[in-house]
Symmetry: C2
């Protein structure tokens, strides 16, 4: 094991992994702690939720990704708390001392002060969320085929997606393809293509981070795919049978949540002030105020760059991870600290479905087939390793040619939890 400064990184997402990698040649012992054993490629999670891909296509064991980095150790444990005075992280697997701490714990769904909505409207952050959503979608069609009552059948065949950011748009578009293309031939009593898919958005347009013309295109593409887009519509209640809007109720067989995120509780651990979204307000070098040895990165950090807030997306998390890793390496080498973190926006991509996507990269604006091809190639490129690239490409080719989905499994939560000890 390498000896040197002890760097603890909490979280094996895009930010945490980049931070670990940036320390590969530093005189440091890196300990990466995550409560799950895998890194998940969240941008494609909606494809697991809509039965196009398998969980293993978009996830990798964190320790395999750091296999060759001999100064990195990975443990799977739950962080219980941080003692910044003693410089210790308390976990379900013991207490660990650090010289530097990087908090990269990401974000989770926010239900606008209504946590009681969560069981009825899962969001999409983890592999388990994706298989949960997949189960709900497919189970609704199964129940609709089995049920006798017509009103109940209509309810079961109605799907509401709350929030029209990239995740909501991609879920709605993919769900429309499942209903219109993949399922119809398989059912006898219902017509899956008659399913009602409603995308509910409180703001005035879909994909608000994109330029206006691309938002317009995305809305029209969704509507062409058979998605009802409701703009300026505010959700006031969510329950197991549907949602209530200010304008009225929608009885639904499944409600999916893509409306808001809140940072994990790392701001408290770092002793930093939290913004409205729970993110730790950090210094320009991403350190916690008054704690130059504690850093917060990715969706957990609130930081501005060139006058605007840094968005909660994968490239931003990677850039922060790399920056902090290099900053720690510089300090350990006695080199001068790098200038403040500066975010470089690479662009925005979102897909609506078959041959329909929007791309806004460095002033380049694309829609339709070209954008879809760009989106597909970019995502294959960003996957890790040959196996997953081939697996995803194979599944997409299968999907494209046959209109089928290869992972249409309803799996139940396992009956007994793993034994303690």
């Amino acid at each position: 094991m390498a000896s040197g400064a002890r760097v603890i990184i909490v979280g094996g997402g895009f930010g945490g992994l980049e931070a670990a990698r940036a320390l590969s040649r530093a005189p440091a012992e890196v300990l990466l702690i995550d409560r799950q054993n895998h890194h998940c490629f969240q941008p494609l999670l909606y494809q697991v939720a809509t039965a196009a891909l398998s969980p293993a296509d978009v996830a990798w064991p964190i320790r395999t990704l750091l296999r060759r980095q001999r100064n990195a150790t990975v443990i799977m444990a739950e962080v219980v708390g941080v003692d910044p005075g003693r410089r210790q992280v308390r976990t379900s697997a013991g207490t660990h001392d650090y010289d530097f701490l990087v908090l990269a714990t990401g974000a989770t769904h926010s239900y606008f002060s209504h946590p009681e909505w969560a069981p009825a409207a899962p969001g999409l952050k983890r592999i388990e969320d994706a298989t949960d959503i997949r189960r709900r979608i497919l189970t609704a069609f199964e129940r609709a085929e089995a049920v006798q009552d017509e009103a109940e059948r209509r309810r079961l065949l109605t799907f509401v997606i709350v929030g029209a950011g990239p995740t909501g748009v991609e879920l709605a578009g993919a769900l429309a393809e499942v209903a219109r293309d993949a399922l119809p031939g398989d059912f006898r009593r219902i017509d899956p293509a008659s399913a009602r898919i409603v995308l509910v958005e409180a703001g005035p347009r879909v994909l608000p981070v994109f330029p206006d013309p691309l938002s317009d295109y995305a809305r029209r593409a969704l509507e062409r795919a058979g998605v009802e887009v409701m703009l300026g519509a505010r959700v006031v209640d969510v329950g197991p049978d549907g949602v209530r809007l200010e304008e009225g109720e929608i009885a639904a067989g499944a409600v999916l949540w893509a409306a808001g995120v809140v940072a994990s509780p790392a701001a408290g651990w770092a002793g930093a002030e939290a913004d409205r979204a729970g993110r730790a307000v950090v210094e320009p070098d991403l350190s916690a105020p008054g704690r130059p040895e504690v850093f917060v990165i990715g969706d957990t950090a609130a930081v501005s760059s060139e006058g605007g807030p840094v968005p909660g997306i994968a490239p931003a998390a990677k850039q922060m991870g790399r920056y902090v890793g290099r900053l720690i390496a510089a300090r350990l080498a006695g080199r001068p600290a790098p200038p403040p973190f500066r975010y470089r926006h690479e662009g925005d991509l979102a897909t609506i479905g078959r041959r329909a996507a929007v791309v806004s990269v460095h002033g380049l604006k694309l829609t339709g087939y070209t954008a879809w091809l760009f989106w597909s190639l970019a995502h294959i490129y960003f996957l890790i390793g040959l196996r997953n690239r081939i697996a995803v490409a194979l599944n997409w080719a299968f999907n494209y040619v046959t209109y089928q989905r290869g992972a249409r499994l309803i799996t139940e939560p396992a009956a007994p939890p793993p034994p303690p000890g």
Copy 2:
């Protein structure tokens, strides 16, 4: 929807599917009921449990498999009971009338009158069992890496597989490969290759259905792979921390059960006598005694053919399904009933691991590389559809070349169950 005699098939495994297909041109309305939405290729389930394959590689939606058969309807529902007098099947989705009933509900694990052992020692029948076992195996290695206590680490790195039939042998061999080949480079504090893998068998040899020399070969191949084979060893207790044998205790991080099966409760539904393994004792034409319109097939049926009992394996279930489907079709067409069911044994295959397998087919006996190649090609052949064949072949090629496993995910049971209604 075709009209005609109402045939209800309960269970979409190998037997139930074959029965449905054999009725494709009969003047019948076929209703296939299963509590899961997918047909599972059980012979490869151990590869999901050992992280080589994804669930979707070995499972297909039942309704997709019967997509083109217009006289077949599939519903996902739980069968609550059968009323043979009224000829009705009661399910979680209403009551259904039948003219013919085919019970193909399979078998589940038997714990020798110790159902309390089940939570500590999962068996391998469903997709959920496989991901549960995968979680236990991978979690044991993760905990061993995180834990400080040496005795606890030794316990966590000990795996006990109970039962040395094909499933136990294949699990033990695959687990040895995970420990010796896939994991070592990924850990820093433990040596996964030092894991102790114990295959416990009460009988005098492994793979008892194979000829003696093949059993011997399999035992030696397992030992070469680093599996401890304990023959004539009887399990007297199983708990979350390991197993107790007559000879002493083995503290273990995971215990896997491959020792016995018991038929599902269909014997009671059919009004037939059950044998010791819970299987319905049926007539030579697989009908329930005194109920010529009720049939029991596959692992749920106890039937003899040419003086010997028909084994509980996939080819037998398929043959029974085809036989019963054709028998019902003959009756509907007013043709004479076929002669009694006659089982044709096609052979036995089992694999131990990389380039090691045993094959006993029509007097042909193979071991080693040739057997392994035969086993691999046969299993690719028996998979359904091009997508899954390519996916499995790709994963095997990846596994063969890199010694890695592509689906090393620890996934938790989803937090909230799906909403009711």
